[in-house]
């Protein structure tokens, strides 16, 4: 167990191999993400009926909920990659962790903005100190902390290791924040409005939602691959394989 994990990781973790591997897979992931996204949005915006309580405003759910889910999911991926990076010092794991952070922050930001746009017609306010919204805001700050710490170091690998450590502290913190914010809400008897109550969600609405969740996941992989590829070129600037790419692409013309 402790032997083959690093061995396997080292093989796929070899930057030139991963660079080619990610380069071939990325267009496929992107294409699948776009197809799934198109199907999901068609189902959500056109086919699904309006909600009997919220009218058409509920249609924000098809981007809001998948984004919220991605914000948490990417944080988990980042924490796992961070752990691998710290224990086995694998460059690729560092790149995966650090390049996941901006994507996760983007999804968390989308969650907050769309939640706010949804909340205005439903609650009559742009922002409420509801447990979920507050936790989401704290999550955004966690992401920003990781990104900020990463860029504060002059040596990028050192920065990646420090930020990876922060990411791991953060993942311990997320459930604690959620618990404490919940408790805080009961104490202060704040808004008890729930967008998604315990009510059952109809099938017409559920399948577009699930399709969108798949689409955002596929998109994450595509975006992550692109980012890690760019990162590896930067980190390995002195190596031969990067030089070959640099000189080779001049001949064939630039393509991403």
């Amino acid at each position: 167990m402790s032997k083959w994990i690093p061995l396997w990781l080292h093989k796929l973790g070899s930057p030139p191999i991963f660079y080619r591997f990610a380069g071939t897979l990325r267009p496929w992931f992107l294409a699948l993400a776009l197809i799934a996204g198109a199907i999901g949005l068609y189902g959500g915006l056109v086919l699904a009926p309006a909600d009997y309580q919220q009218g058409d405003a509920y249609r924000i759910i098809f981007i809001h909920v998948p984004s919220a889910w991605m914000g948490l999911f990417i944080y988990g991926v980042m924490a796992v990659a961070s752990f691998i990076a710290l224990v086995w010092r694998i460059k690729l794991a560092e790149a995966v962790a650090m390049e996941s952070a901006p994507i996760g922050a983007a999804f968390t930001f989308i969650t907050l903005v769309t939640g706010s746009l949804w909340g205005k017609p439903m609650w009559g306010t742009w922002w409420t100190w509801d447990a979920r919204l507050t936790s989401e805001l704290v999550l955004l700050f966690l992401y920003l902390g990781v990104i900020g710490l990463y860029h504060a170091f002059e040596d990028r690998r050192q920065g990646a290791r420090a930020a990876a450590f922060l990411a791991i502290i953060g993942i311990i913190n997320v459930p604690i924040v959620h618990f404490s914010v919940n408790w805080w809400n009961t104490l202060h008897q704040g808004s008890t409005v729930r967008i998604l109550g315990p009510s059952k969600i109809s099938m017409d609405m559920l399948w577009p939602l699930l399709t969108m969740m798949v689409a955002t996941k596929l998109y994450y992989v595509a975006s992550l691959f692109g980012r890690v590829r760019a990162d590896l070129l930067e980190l390995e600037g002195g190596k031969d394989w990067v030089r070959r790419i640099a000189t080779g692409e001049q001949a064939t013309g630039e393509q991403a």
Binding site: I63, Y219, G226, E234
Partner: protein, 64 residues
């Protein structure tokens, strides 16, 4: 169509939400592509400078 765009009167909330979603993800997707282009350009410039330096140090030896 216009009925679809009106979103039952909630167009002012639904469409901005979707716009934010797509714009943020577009920016997220394009930024590493730009970064990669810039890095490759810088790397090429560095390699060119290196070969230029080598030629400069080599030429006096040929032509003293």
């Amino acid at each position: 169509m216009s009925q679809f765009l009106a979103m039952g009167g909630y167009a002012a909330y639904v469409w901005p939400a979707y716009a934010v979603f797509f714009l943020v993800l577009l920016a997220d997707f394009i930024s590493p592509m730009l970064r990669r282009r810039r890095n490759l350009r810088e790397l090429r410039a560095r390699l060119a400078r290196q070969t230029a330096r080598q030629q400069r140090t080599a030429s006096p030896a040929v032509n003293p």
